[in-house]
């Protein structure tokens, strides 16, 4: 309800930064942060793009965002457990070094 354009542009910039970091970062932890940050940006677009209903912002997308936040943390939590195990087993924290896979 307040200056939707400001939020949308900020969300777009955050999404761009997230995608840039996802491609450039070689440390998986940084890539997971990038995905969480991009998710927050998309939630912002979801709420703002839905538009106000008689003044207040529409309640339904807010419930969707709440569901989205919990799903985001479930995915990130599992990804972190996977990352720690990957680092423990192969000693690498990046998807790049394929050296030690048993081909």
């Amino acid at each position: 309800m307040s200056h939707a354009e400001v939020w949308v542009i900020a969300a777009a910039a955050v999404f761009g930064i997230g995608l840039y970091s996802l491609l450039i970062a070689s440390h998986l932890l940084r890539q997971l942060i990038a995905i969480k940050v991009m998710g927050s940006a998309i939630f912002l677009v979801l709420v703002v793009a839905a538009g106000p209903i008689d003044g207040a912002l529409d309640g339904l997308p807010k419930a969707l965002v709440l569901t989205g936040i919990v799903i985001a943390i479930s995915a990130i939590a599992f990804a972190l457990a996977l990352l720690v195990r990957l680092a423990e087993v192969t000693g690498s924290t990046s998807l790049e070094d394929e050296a030690d896979d048993d081909r």
């Binding site: 450039i24 970062a25 070689s26 440390h27 940084r30």
Partner: protein, 105 residues
């Protein structure tokens, strides 16, 4: 602008000035410990003043109670955090944070 709103405005402005003092201290002081001192002391008094200003504005006792709880908890948290961080800053032989030097991309 009756008397109450005047008082509230005064408290809010005073609170803001304490926050300003805290931030100036944070930026200008030479080392971590003195910055810690600035931040915890000034900001907490600032928060107290702002909370009391808002309490006066809100006018309901229940809101004032909530504000008081928030402030008390903020003070407790600030003291313990400052104690721990100061302990860490003193004991820590390496001024850098782990991972500082490796600048992982």
């Amino acid at each position: 602008m009756n008397a109450l709103e005047g008082l509230a405005a005064l408290l809010l402005v005073a609170g803001s000035s304490f926050f300003l003092a805290g931030t100036v201290g944070l930026l200008r002081f030479p080392d971590a410990l003195s910055r810690l001192h600035a931040l915890t002391k000034a900001d907490n008094v600032g928060l107290l003043l702002i909370c009391s200003g808002l309490g006066v504005l809100a006018g309901s006792l229940q809101t004032a109670g909530m504000l008081l709880l928030v402030w008390l908890l903020a003070m407790l948290a600030a003291t313990v955090s400052a104690h721990l961080i100061a302990g860490r800053a003193l004991a820590d032989d390496t001024p850098e944070l782990p991972g500082e030097q490796d600048d992982t991309p």
